[in-house]
């Protein structure tokens, strides 16, 4: 088992200010960045704030930016860096910082609450839902989301434009809208809730310019752009911008 001394730069500070602090720290075979952050806490910076939980890429807590790229610290192996490379770790740069590597991700919970939840179908009780696998394949992909908010962090719509946070839900919650709209038993339409139209009007789907950074950083490998955002854009076009679909739906409605 070999070990070496790695050079780290870790952002330290709070909402009033802060900066990158240099560290030299031992690295052993098989370790990930979160192991090194923990070693820093144990040996050199006992008050270093970091949020973490499962160390297995499933809780989505240890999101940070490593050499400028949004990643989970627990899933970033030290072996991807050369021994000479300085590894820079900063908090997520889209959300307000609380302290060191911990940010306030409350924006995401606000946006989550704005998405109307699943509408149960009339006449079916708990335990009576029956669905075909091919009908739930699409929503199930989106259920893999661990809510690490790396996609929200990397999305330039809010990362580079703070003022868009009010109107734009971000890829994670637009994916939630897509998940519900594709759900075979969601009865939102029967209650007058048009999720396709709401995606554009209420959740800011039009802000997305499908540059795919959300897909690039997703640690679960969800094809957010291709399977959620673009299909949702096409569904919004059906509702708002396609005169033929509009005409067809009018004729169908009149004949029925």
């Amino acid at each position: 088992m070999s070990s070496y001394e790695a050079r780290f730069k870790v952002w330290r500070g709070d909402a009033q200010g802060g900066g990158l602090e240099d560290f030299e720290v031992e690295v052993n075979d098989g370790e990930v960045v979160l192991d090194i952050i923990h070693r820093l806490q144990a040996t050199q910076a006992p008050d270093l704030a970091v949020r973490w939980n499962c160390k297995a890429g499933k809780c989505g807590s240890c999101s940070a930016e490593i050499n400028g790229r949004p990643r989970l610290m627990c899933m970033t192996r030290m072996s991807v860096f050369t021994r000479e490379e300085t590894v820079t770790v900063t908090p997520l740069r889209t959300f307000p910082v609380i302290r060191d590597l911990v940010t306030d991700v409350g924006y995401n919970y606000t946006k989550a609450r704005e998405v109307p939840s699943f509408v149960p179908p009339a006449g079916l009780g708990p335990g009576e839902y029956r669905m075909f696998q091919e009908d739930v394949d699409r929503p199930q992909e989106f259920r893999k989301c661990i809510e690490c908010f790396l996609c929200q962090d990397v999305c330039h719509v809010v990362r580079d434009h703070e003022d868009n946070k009010r109107a734009y839900a971000g890829p994670r919650f637009l994916m939630r809208v897509a998940e519900l709209d594709m759900h075979p038993l969601d009865a939102a339409a029967e209650t007058g809730l048009d999720r396709k139209r709401a995606a554009q009007d209420d959740h800011g789907l039009g802000y997305c310019n499908i540059t795919k950074c959300c897909t690039e950083v997703c640690p679960e490998g969800i094809r957010i752009t291709d399977n959620a955002l673009i299909p949702l854009k096409e569904r919004a076009v059906d509702r708002k911008y396609d005169p033929l679909v509009w005409l067809g739906s009018k004729i169908r409605r009149r004949s029925s």
Binding site: W11, G18, P70, R159, E162, G206, I210, V217
Partner: protein, 278 residues
């Protein structure tokens, strides 16, 4: 309380936007990426620019676009009176004699619109030309951003109509490929190197067109219950498999259409003799 581990060089917050907004971690650098993040947008920009320069020259040149039995895909179908005569070819005097500039302009608007509004090309040129963003987690230079919420970018939503037009254009190019199984005297049952180039091109054009996200939506993606539409579900699965390669097909078909045009240019200008297989 001093802990002895305070950062030595504290950066005070500056009142600027984006990643330098007041409440966010005080880091002045617009990004901290250490990899060659600029390579992909630079290569994309160079590739697209090269095609724009080449296609603009060829579209306005109005020469060397027909060498029996091959017609350049840039000039097919040819819909003005000033088109060259192509025996049984895709020329039809729809626009009459008043159209005096290159007839390529009439038809190129459709494949151009299809590619301009394509979900892959949007990503490519938003990143490469407009730096919005230049790469992931690299700050964009613009102060305001409204995305595709207002004019003119809201027009990107017409992509499906350009898809319908692209189907028709691909149909005409398929007809051209069938015509390429003639010789220069219009006798059937022959094949040359140009026929192979046309075959490669039409396969890639169809693959790119069918793999379109709008096509994926139309054939089945819009459905809520695949189980009630098994045939459309099969179509959707097929298009989805192609769709996963949409970027590669976009580039391959862009290259092949330029290659097919350049081949016709070489043969028509006399710079190259089309090798005949039989």
């Amino acid at each position: 309380m001093a802990t002895g581990t305070e950062p030595p060089d504290t950066e005070p917050h500056t009142l600027r936007g984006g990643v330098r907004s007041p409440a966010r971690a005080a880091i002045t650098a617009p990004h901290l990426r250490t990899d060659r993040w600029w390579l992909a947008p630079a290569a994309t920009t160079a590739g697209l620019l090269a095609f724009v320069v080449y296609s603009t020259w060829r579209a306005f040149a109005n020469t060397h676009y027909y060498a029996a039995p091959y017609v350049s895909p840039f000039y097919s179908p040819c819909l003005a009176r000033n088109c060259e005569t192509m025996q049984a070819g895709p020329n039809y005097d729809l626009f009459g004699g008043w159209w005096v500039i290159s007839p390529a302009i009439i038809i190129l608007i459709f494949p151009l619109g299809f590619r301009l509004t394509c979900y892959y090309y949007r990503k490519a040129y938003y990143r490469g030309f407009w730096a919005s963003p230049p790469a992931c987690a690299v700050a964009e230079p613009h102060k305001k951003y409204t995305g595709e919420t207002r004019f003119p970018l809201i027009l990107q939503n017409v992509h499906r109509y350009f898809f319908y037009a692209a189907i028709l254009v691909a149909g005409v190019l398929t007809y051209d490929t069938v015509l390429a199984f003639r010789d220069q005297h219009y006798r059937w049952g022959h094949m040359g190197l140009g026929t192979l180039v046309f075959l490669l091109n039409i396969v890639l054009i169809w693959a790119y067109t069918i793999s379109c996200h709008s096509c994926r939506h139309i054939v089945g993606g819009k459905l809520k219950h695949f189980s009630k539409h098994p045939v459309r579900y099969r179509f959707w699965q097929f298009v989805s498999r192609l769709n996963a390669r949409h970027m590669q097909l976009a580039w391959a078909s862009l290259f092949s259409v330029a290659l097919a045009d350049f081949y016709v240019f070489l043969v028509a200008s006399g710079a190259f003799d089309d090798p005949r297989f039989f």
